[in-house]
Every structure is written in C-alpha cells, then in structure tokens.
C-alpha cells in the first residue's frame, strides 16, 4: 500500500508539473485597468501562431473617474476575423447595475465596474513569404499535406526554393492590440497587446494563470 501511494504521489507530481508548465497556445488571458490616461495592461497576452482559431479573455477594472461608452476593436495587420463576447449573468436580477454590450460597444461603463470580454479570433490565410493576407482560391501550392496561398508568382517561387524556411509562417505573427476607445472623445482608455509568436518562441511567454 505504501509503495503504491509513493508511486501515485510521484506520478501526480510529474503529471501536474507537465500540466502547469505547458501552455495551450490557442488561448490566453490578460488583466487591465481602464482609465482616462490610457489605461494599463498588466502584461501582454501571448498566443502561438499556427492555430486555426484563438480565444483570448480580457478582464479589466474601470478606474475612477472614468465613465462612458467604449468601443472595442482588435487592431493589427493582417486583419483577423473576430467576435467579441461580453460576460454577464444569463438572467440579470438587477441587484447591481451592469454595462450593456452591443455591436462591439460597451454602454454605461462606470468607475469600479469589472469587465470580462472573450475575443474569438480566426485567421485568414496568409502568404508565408511576405505576410500579406490572401484568400483561398488565390495562387496556391501544396506542401507536406497542407495548402499554402500566395499573393503572386514571386512569393510562390521563393517558397518553392526554401519551403522549410517559410512553412510555419502562414499564420498571424507579431503584435495586435485589443483596443478600447471612449466613443465621445475617441481617446484610448486601454490597450491590451496580443502577441502572436511562433512555436519555437511561444513557451517563454507570460499571461499564464
């Protein structure tokens, strides 16, 4: 019995360690403070390039004296197809006033509010050589069971010459922002950086809870 317990303990530690250390690159979490002076994100939100879909959750607290309506936009190039969802009770019993969310605008934000937004993202096909956003049906080339799309013959030729160099670069890379703008003044009240990294450098990333 004691040996079985010791083996179980060691197994539990190893399994838990793997689970704690490994990050699934298709989702991440960021925390921010929304304020009149531009707000502050506690840390960037890292995502691993190469997935078809991504999910990101941003939670933010509103600092006084800011109040107003806020437009939420995902900024970055190439553009991503995205859908923002606001977390609130299914049945609002009216015990506390909550902001409303319609057409990517948060209405009636007040100091002390705590906001939770889910951003679902889907990448358009990207030319792995120049990084331009392309459409399915454009110039294409199969490689290792996957179809790659290109903006023109030049990029296709470069890919054919060195496919190993480009094969992991057909997904979004670099910095995007989940930006919050006051609808009246147009001023930014919070920007949460979303950084898409390749698999090789995505493990040394923050935003892990």
């Amino acid at each position: 019995m004691r040996i079985r317990s010791i083996i179980t303990l060691v197994l539990a530690v190893l399994l838990s360690l793997v689970a704690a250390v490994h990050r699934w690159g298709d989702s991440s979490h960021a925390i921010g403070l929304m304020s009149l002076n531009g707000g502050k994100a506690r840390h960037p939100s890292f995502l691993e390039s190469g997935w078809d879909r991504y999910a990101q959750i941003t939670t933010a607290r509103v600092l006084p004296p800011y109040r107003g309506d806020v437009r939420v936009v995902l900024e970055g190039d190439p553009p991503l197809d995205y859908d923002i969802r606001f977390s609130k009770p299914v049945v609002d019993l009216g015990l506390r006033r909550l902001p409303d969310f319609r057409d990517d605008i948060l209405y009636g934000i007040q100091p002390g509010d705590r906001l939770a937004l889910w951003v679902l993202m889907r990448s358009f096909p990207t030319d792995p050589v120049c990084g331009m956003s392309v459409r399915e049906g454009d110039l294409s080339h199969p490689y290792q069971g996957k179809i790659f799309f290109f903006c023109g013959d030049g990029c296709l030729a470069s890919f054919r010459a060195e496919p190993g160099r480009y094969k992991d670069k057909d997904s979004p890379r670099g910095k995007y922002n989940l930006a919050f703008y006051d609808t009246r003044s147009g001023k930014s009240v919070l920007k949460v950086p979303l950084i898409f990294k390749g698999k090789e450098d995505s493990h040394a990333s923050g935003g892990h809870h």
Binding site: V21, D26, K88, P89
Partner: protein, 293 residues
C-alpha cells in the same frame, strides 16, 4: 452516551441532494444569484476561490495581498469553508459545493455500466502531489494550475453555455475542452461522481487537511470498532473513497472523509455515526481503545 450510540445521520444527510440542488441554483447559471450581489456572473474575479492564496515567484507582499482584495468574496468563502470544516467536518464539500454537487448529481443520471471506478487510486497521495505542484510551480515560476485547469470555471460555464456566447467561448479552445473532458471523465462518468473532487480539487485538498487537523476537537463521522463486524458494506459506495478495512474493522481517513452520510445509511449495525470525536488513546495492533473526546 457513547458516540456510536447516536444513530441519527449527519446533519441533514437525508436531505443532502435537495441542499445540493439549492446550492446549484444559487451559484450556477442561469440565475447565478449570489454572484449578482457583487456584480459578477461566475466564480471568476471577486469570487475566485483558487488563486488569491497562491504565491507567485517575484510577487511583492503588496501584490500578494492585492489578490486577496481582488477576490475578497473567494477569500471569505475559502476561510469560511476551512473554519467550519475544522469544527464540523467537510459540509461544504458534501452538501454545498455546486461544483462537486453537479458532478455527483450528474453521475447519478449515468447508467452504472458506463461508470468508471477510480476508487483503487490512493486519493490522498495523488491529491497532495497535485496540491504541492499547485503551490510549488507558481512559487518557483514554472507555471500555474490555477486558471488553466479550473473546476470552478468549467462547471458554471457548462450551465451557462446554452444561454451565453461568453460562456460558450470558454469551450472553443483546447484548455476548455480538456477541462470539459476532466469534468466528464472524473465527474459525471465516475462511480460516485467525486473523482475530480478526490484527486484534483485544491479546495478539497486543503479542506481535507483542515478536517484532519480538527479531528481531535470537532465533530466527525467515525466508526465504533466494537460494533463494526468488518462486512465492508460502507466501503464500496463511499464517494470520497475514505473507508478501508483494517483487521476486519472499517477505518475512516479524515483526510478524505466528508459527512455525506452514505456509510451511516449503509451500516446495518449502526456502527457509524456523526458526533464529537472519539479519540484512540492507545492503539496496539488491531485493538484500538476509544474514549469520548
């Protein structure tokens, strides 16, 4: 009166499923009633019971206690659970927890032949191995288990997903699907419905320690060794896998036991009851002598 002469079940064992159902209505969508008092809709944020107490590498004292402020309702909940457990046993886990309650009630809807029996796993060894990494990985800066594998995030969103796009979004990613799989495999499709609670819940693990620490002073479920004939009827159905037979006498592990009342009902000889603890004053092999504590 000898404790084992008390034959009434642990309070209020006979109505446990009704209490669990009520807790589910209060905590879970679509109502999320209790969360709405603080402007929340689930256990995340103000009510988070899993993250505020974890020390992260590089955190200052201010940052650490800021976590308590941010999740003040979660902190009140966890300290309330540990305090009541110390004196009265793990009633939060057995009667009130909407997370464990959902999995246990869900498992009752699954046909017996589909259920997986995990009871052979030495639960305390697994649970405290997991808990050590839960604290240690964050303290050493290796990673975290707090949010990534959270039962308190998953279960409410299962209830909310049919109504809320935000709750549905939780499952549209790998970590969400893994959490759903864990709840199904270790909860709904587990015999007794409590394998998740027994193996992977950090609140349950800390609650087990409080249960063990307060066993000398508080009220607990225990076995009267003179009445126990070692039939084992109480062992098989214990959802917490807390009972084993040693020298033909049932023995309850305080690290795992929650006062669900199953064993009291199962024992035809009335050898198991709930009350002020009986303390072994000497325990030569197979002949524990008990006195009233």
């Amino acid at each position: 009166m000898h404790r084992a002469d008390i034959t009434k079940p642990a309070f209020p064992g006979s109505r446990r499923y009704w209490i669990m159902a009520l807790a589910m209505v209060l905590f879970l969508p679509p109502l999320s009633f209790l969360f709405q008092f603080t402007g929340d809709s689930n256990f995340c944020g103000t009510w988070c019971p899993r993250m505020f107490f974890v020390w992260r590498k590089g955190a200052t004292m201010d940052a650490y206690f800021m976590g308590y402020m941010r999740s003040y309702m979660g902190a009140i909940l966890v300290f309330g659970i540990l305090l009541t457990t110390f004196f009265f046993g793990r009633y939060w886990c057995s009667h009130l927890c909407p997370i464990g309650g959902t999995m246990e009630m869900g498992s009752r809807l699954v046909p017996r032949f589909l259920k997986i029996n995990y009871a052979k796993i030495p639960a305390p060894a697994f649970r405290y191995g997991y808990l050590s990494v839960y604290f240690g990985a964050a303290a050493l800066g290796l990673g975290s288990l707090c949010c990534s594998y959270c039962n308190f995030a998953t279960i409410p969103r299962i209830f909310g997903a049919p109504f809320s796009g935000a709750d549905l979004a939780y499952f549209l990613r790998t970590a969400g699907l893994i959490n759903l799989g864990l709840v199904l495999l270790l909860g709904i499709f587990a015999k007794g419905g409590r394998a998740y609670c027994n193996l992977l819940c950090p609140i349950g693990a800390m609650d087990g320690l409080a249960n063990r620490a307060g066993a000398r002073w508080g009220r607990r479920v225990s076995v009267h060794p003179a009445k126990c004939n070692g039939c084992g009827d109480c062992v098989d159905g214990c959802p917490a896998w807390a009972i084993d037979l040693t020298d033909k006498t049932a023995r309850i592990d305080a690290l795992s036991c929650m006062p669900c009342g199953y064993c009291e009902t199962a024992c035809a000889r009335g050898a198991i009851g709930y009350g002020k603890s009986l303390l072994p004053i000497s325990a030569p092999r197979g002949k524990a002598v008990y006195e009233k504590g």
